[in-house]
Symmetry: C2
Subunit: 670 residues, 2 copies
Amino acid sequence: MTDQPLVIFTPSGKRGHVAPGTKVLDAARSLGADLDSVCGRRGVCSKCQIAPSFGTHAKHGITVAEDALTPINAVEERYDRVRGLKPGRRLGCQAEILADVVIDVPPESQVHKQVVRKRAEARDITVDPAVRLHYVEVAEPTMDAPSGDCERLLDALKAEMGIETLGMDFALLPGLQKVLRKGGWKVTAAIHLDGAPEVIALWPGYHEGVFGLAVDIGSTTIAGHLTDLASGEVVASSGIMNPQIRYGEDVMSRVSHAMMNAGGAAELTAAVREGLNGLVGALVEEAGIDKGQILDAAFVMNPVMHHLFLGLDPYELGQAPFALATGSAQRLPARTLGLDIAPGTRAYVLPLIAGHVGADAAAVALSEQPHKSDDLVLVVDVGTNAEILLGDRTGVLACSSPTGPAFEGAQISSGQRAAPGAIERVEIDPVTKEPRFRVIGSELWSDDPGFADAIAGTGLTGICGSGIIEVVAEMRMAGIVDAKGLIGSAEETGSARCVAEGRTQSYVLWEGDETTPRITVTNNDVRAIQMAKAALYAGARLLMDKRGVDRVDRVVLAGAFGAHISPKHAMVLGMIPDVPLAKVSSAGNAAGTGARIALLNLGARAEIERVVGEIDKIETAIEPRFQEHFVAATAMPNAADPFDGLRAVVPLPEPSFGKSGESGRRRRRS
Amino acid sequence: MTDQPLVIFTPSGKRGHVAPGTKVLDAARSLGADLDSVCGRRGVCSKCQIAPSFGTHAKHGITVAEDALTPINAVEERYDRVRGLKPGRRLGCQAEILADVVIDVPPESQVHKQVVRKRAEARDITVDPAVRLHYVEVAEPTMDAPSGDCERLLDALKAEMGIETLGMDFALLPGLQKVLRKGGWKVTAAIHLDGAPEVIALWPGYHEGVFGLAVDIGSTTIAGHLTDLASGEVVASSGIMNPQIRYGEDVMSRVSHAMMNAGGAAELTAAVREGLNGLVGALVEEAGIDKGQILDAAFVMNPVMHHLFLGLDPYELGQAPFALATGSAQRLPARTLGLDIAPGTRAYVLPLIAGHVGADAAAVALSEQPHKSDDLVLVVDVGTNAEILLGDRTGVLACSSPTGPAFEGAQISSGQRAAPGAIERVEIDPVTKEPRFRVIGSELWSDDPGFADAIAGTGLTGICGSGIIEVVAEMRMAGIVDAKGLIGSAEETGSARCVAEGRTQSYVLWEGDETTPRITVTNNDVRAIQMAKAALYAGARLLMDKRGVDRVDRVVLAGAFGAHISPKHAMVLGMIPDVPLAKVSSAGNAAGTGARIALLNLGARAEIERVVGEIDKIETAIEPRFQEHFVAATAMPNAADPFDGLRAVVPLPEPSFGKSGESGRRRRRS
């Protein structure tokens, strides 16, 4: 046995011999065990709390004596007296190792904490943000050594942190001298480590608590998550309507506004930035923190939103070849983006993938990690444009497909946004052809007793995106719609709910009464869903062609819509390629999660920039095969019910209504 | 003899053998000869023009054949046709070397041109600015390769310039796409190389002409020099009153304004920035250039001006220990300093030396180079504070001395700024005690015939700084003032020009008439000059003490005042240590020259930052010896006349007037 005591850190298992008298923190650093420290060994921050584990450790073959560490010293006593130290805990920067010892590092003392995600297949997030706090004592100025306050602060931080190139954000200089004097030359500095290391915030004395924003700027909604950069937990979430909506519902009408009006792009930029500032205010109020504690922000959005947010005219995105001004990840002060947060707050904008495939898709890739998947995964983020990723660890392809707004309930006769009162679930009895449904805000089905009372509060107002998919799929399965997408007449289907409206038939989902409207599915509605699902499917098929496969191993549905969609109905409709039902999962708001990962983990930024660089970008607009797939996919597939997840295709009676279909016409939104 | 032709470049003398067919430009690059090129060998910029020198070169022992280079090619013919090529000139990027050749690189084709300074002892300035132009052809976007325009531009520049880390100023992104398309994917980029390399300006097609500003922000005057960054020549100079003057004549009253008024510092910051924007407008108009061509700026100023210009509250500079917020050199976008020039214009602020010794003193050091001097040089920049440098190549000391405004004609009974009508030269006959003088704007002495007519235009309004120094020195030499600084009475001096005013005597320099005022030198005037010169001398002596010497080899007088001061009178007064008169030189506006050097030469920035770091900073306020020197120096020295430059001290009759002196009292301006 050596004279040097053996130290074993748990849970990491890092172990080694150290000189007697070595401080626990130094032992952890030299052995590579993860132990935090902010205050530079001053016994102030208590981030380095550890728990020695006395007694016999059969597993390690050692017995730890009660005096394996030096006794509690004056610094620890003071800390315990002032702030309280849990029983059994020691400060790693004070306790010294005298004999063999097993030392447990509790989760809160680990630098790289894990944020556990709820979904089994999702990786946990390691909290390793771009912003670090460091408490430091600064030399006071004297007339003998007339260096600047800034230089003395940086010298102190450089010496303690070992960052020779550390600089200071110029925006902090005006407040610097007061903070140093208010803190009695003891201050806590926030250091930004993404790019050239810089001090970006400063507080007098010891400070804890820095936060970051993960923001998804959608065409319709801007969603923000205020996140604790130490724990990785979301402390407040809020969403607002994108104020640009007043310039057009979809991105292309906003591009038109920018093109047709002098100063139009600047107006749109000002609108989204103003909205963001309002959102930040709401989040800060909800969390009860000071705005000055928000020091970092990660942004994701589609290419048009990206350009408008950054203050770039989206003109070129409105026409082929859809040239981006820039697609690279952006690192810049948040103030440069017109955000009024703290003087030094930083912004990170994830890279765009291509002219039609945005940073939101990059964030989906960061969250769902197709590039690390062992099996071939198709990730679909459905919105006005569907963004589609296909790949595994050998490579990833991406494209965007112009699905249009039908999946969001727009351009559907009774369509509406997902909101209370909207029909979201539909079943149609294949024998009686009678429907039943549920509306958002009520637990009851429409044929349950008490349904009328149940919807008194919400009303019954229309059909949302997931409802329209279900009703069309159910109509197909019930033989009400044929393979070409035509609704049969009452005669043909044997259902009085099929009624002629003009030259086509409609299916009456709800007759309406004094308080509720009549809700029908018209043949135009079916046609709109047909077009949308064909575009989505064609995009996925195109990527499969490029990859040289005709099946995928699993499908991930991302986005708010993806979270509510019924995989069974999506497959019946032919929105997505057939896979066993158990292999379809919903990733929820994967773009938002990706933004949060980029916010919390510095390494994830480099990762997604590398991955985006390596992705094969496919432009659907110039691919003849996309057109072919689209035409083929407008048909409603031979109705299959993959209910049991075993690809048990159950052929249904196959009706065919009307004479000819107009289903082959290609529609592309410009 | 080798098969490889010998190439000799003149005037550099670089020589070597190259493979036959090597382009002249490539040969220059490989042999280290200085040959410019902006357009990446496209025959567009003609910066690489050279002149082959045919015939026998006895000096080099070679004969150059007429066909030593390939014949003029199509690119050169086109250039000659379109823009014209001087006879005998070739384009170095086109002509290939076939046989032994001597190639002359004309001055305009050298990258590192020399700006020759007029003073013999001043080094020339090598033009090697932080901003370079590069003409480049950018790949057009396609749907197959959907990278951003910015990324494609940077890729092209990286490939041609070999700068892997090249970035783009975010402020350029909004205009990027239009410029690329307007130029047909051919653009000229300006690259800023001081710090992380960035594109800071962009023009469609081929562009020439970038400019920089060298600015000296004085408490009273802001002087700007618009400089061609290619040739190093000043194309326009202009000066304005510092608009902060309305908040106080001297810097300390401005610090008081900032301290006493909420928002006072911000007011002062806005005033100086507004003034600068006006100055830029005047310079641009004078030079007839576009503001967008100004891409760099170098700034020098005293510490209070520095803080106010940067937007930092100068509060701490108003009290011991005079702590700077920051003293380091600043590199930042000019827009951050509120300057409305071009989006990407950069600013470089020279480092401060200490709380009282500014970037103007650093610029003086850059211009006068005490750190490279073989002999021990004292550099004095006289203003409201005198900034004093003493040193040689073994080391430099610096201090600031509170001379007050007397040298600038303020606080002198008949004092005024140096302007037409002000007395600037004075002689007093040592026998008759009669004076004669000259005023600014007139060539005649006051005893010359026609003087009255000569000053009809200018008037005769007072005495400026150099005049007051001469008159007091002459009074001392004429025995009108004694060693303690007392003016003798008419009886004591034998001159009716000495008249009692209150308890002391005054000397009547000009009796006045209907159009001119009576101009006298009061004993208080003499006292003010005594105090000022004592402060200056004490500062210089303190540095000499620190250096352990009691003499210096030469003295350089810098600043506008230094340019007009009479070295003889300065030495008679005891303002500066005795040296042979030939060893006193005037450096003119050395601070402005230093700013221009920092603007034109990237290496000079690193040099001055290193030198400032190494300078021994002496704070006069805490040095007991400064007090002692000050007290001792209030006396008027035993009047010496070093007229002949040989330290020939000529003792004069030594009068002593009055009973006691109050000359020992220490005065320090706070």
